[in-house]
Subunit: 347 residues, 2 copies
């Protein structure tokens, strides 16, 4: 029997169609390959990209020289441009604004052939340090309402360059999905004076069946109302609204959790295409005093990472309704990932 | 320069990234083929499907016999089941209900090899008559909040059976995208005492640049804030909230408009994969007296068809933010489709 489940964070119903009960082997298929003649992200091709805005390099190393570990560059073909003032206009019935923003690439490694799951935890820590540095820098720009960090892995997940990288887009408006989460958390806090995501975490830890891993600092679980097979959320056990407040030791622990999760996915689903996104409190939220502040810790948002392997197609039903049908119950997905044999996978 | 545009119907911003300016030839690529041994939708294989719930057949023809033009059958592997009472429960923090609903297939032709754009306008009229008949029947069931009709064409658009068909899903909750549109139209009506979609239509007719075709009854245009390249909306010029109130002559005119639109897409984009969805006022809306009723015609919703060719991939940005980036301005898309040479395409 199918079941509808409500996601209190996304404020939407999901249909879990368990009779079809799709297992990992149903999703394993040849992956589309991305080919490119001369990769601009490789070590030694630094002049092929715009000058770097941030890098992790040995002390004394020269900007845009080859001696880097992580490199952040403006996108050569940006969706939004950083120059200019934000201009808003009406056009008859319609509203428009010019495309002011920032679009940056975080190149995660100089090595073309290593995907994120194959990087060392120390290297992933450096990637997370780059995220933090760019968040802290760009949130100071008052034109930007939100700084969004995400990763596309594999052609099916929308990646067009095989060399492992993440992206950052700073936006002049708060994204609708983030706004929905902020509203859900705010409403929950106003009613209960508790953080919605802390309560979700407690519920998940009590239920147990959807937990993939829990190292005491970071918990990875398949959400109760997963919209996609093997969808995952990564949450800090300790409440926190702002990823950028993490210290270096927190980032190292997060890198461990992220790497372990990616290795499990790689093992169970054979290097699936995936997207992950960082959902953080928006700068506006950080600047203004809002409900839920308790000392310096706002209790009405809880930063987290959301990850979806891209295993199913989005068709007319999903697009026209906003509902999702998920053929793999999250309890099954979590069990497969919890019990994953990762011994054969490069760690 | 990129531009952000607000969609007053979807209540969301879209990023038109015109510097990339992608044209039809950028989207033409080999289409994935769907193969299947014995198609259950072909004439003569009626026993391979559950018994039909509706069909268009010559008078005196026997149900589930081979002599049909359009045939509606329950989905053999339904996402939601029609039997039982709707049961809603809480589970700790979470909410669930059982998957009550209907999931039907509208087989559009007995001929395996004809896609919808290759059917005659008379045959498409019969398909639309089947839509109308099923809407009128299923909306009487008080368990269903919404009856959703859609079509997936091509593997990239989520179709798994090549034989041309549409689908219907009756749902126990109003879909979020429909709810957003209903709210947008309601709010607009309450403020202005006019229909939002009628006003959009007037704006489009005044601007002209996004119109694909206009036969006096039905207008097809690329929306101002198109989220996808070559996205289209089909609207009745005369206000109407309910597709099921169309008479046979209206359906014949709609079939002409739909066929012409599909033929244009086929010509310009070489048989692109696509989804279309019918957005109609929900049964609840039809049963209750709501704001915007004027005589028997509610002015706070306007039924329409939305169509997207599936030419781009949904990546982490779209999925994590709810924003869309569209590399083809709708003004360009409309011009290509308006000027389409359809002489070489089967009409």
């Amino acid at each position: 029997m199918s079941e509808l489940r409500w996601d209190p964070l996304k404020k939407s119903w999901v249909i879990i169609t368990s009779e079809q009960g799709r297992r990992p082997r149903d999703f394993i298929q040849p992956r589309e390959r991305i080919t490119m003649e001369a990769c601009p992200f490789c070590r030694g091709r630094e002049e092929k990209t715009p000058p770097e805005v941030f890098a992790i390099r040995p002390q004394g190393s020269i900007p845009d020289g080859p001696d880097w570990k992580v490199r952040v560059i403006p996108n050569k073909y940006p969706a939004l441009r950083i120059e200019g003032n934000l201009e808003k206009r009406g056009k008859g019935l319609y509203d428009t604004m010019n495309g002011i923003g920032a679009h940056e690439i975080i190149v995660e490694t100089p090595d073309h052939d290593r995907s994120m799951s194959e990087l060392s935890a120390a290297q992933i820590t450096d990637v997370l340090r780059a995220y933090r540095a760019r968040l802290l820098d760009l949130r100071r720009d008052p034109r930007f309402r939100y700084v969004f960090i995400f990763k596309n892995h594999g052609a099916e997940a929308g990646s067009t360059i095989a060399h492992s990288h993440s992206q950052l887009i700073a936006l002049p408006v708060t994204p609708p999905h983030v706004a929905t989460e902020l509203t859900a958390c705010r409403e929950y806090y106003e009613r209960k004076e508790r953080c919605l995501l802390c309560d979700i975490l407690h519920q998940e830890l009590a239920d147990g069946v959807r937990i993939v891993r829990d190292d005491g600092d970071f918990v990875v679980f398949a959400p109760y109302a997963s919209a996609f097979p093997f969808e995952l959320r990564l949450l800090t056990r300790r409440h926190g609204h702002d990823f950028a407040l993490l210290g270096d030791r927190d980032l190292a622990a997060l890198a461990d959790a992220l790497k372990d999760t990616l290795v499990r996915l790689r093992s169970v689903l054979r290097d699936p295409p995936f997207n992950f996104v960082l959902h953080n409190a928006p700068p506006m939220h950080l600047r203004l005093g809002k409900p839920g502040y308790w000392g310096s810790i706002p209790y009405d948002y809880h930063w987290h990472i959301e990850l979806i392997p891209r295993l199913t197609k989005i068709a007319g039903f999903e697009w026209g309704t906003g509902f999702y049908m998920n053929p793999t119950p999250p309890e099954d997905a979590a069990r497969f990932l919890r019990e994953a044999d990762t011994s054969g996978v490069f760690r």
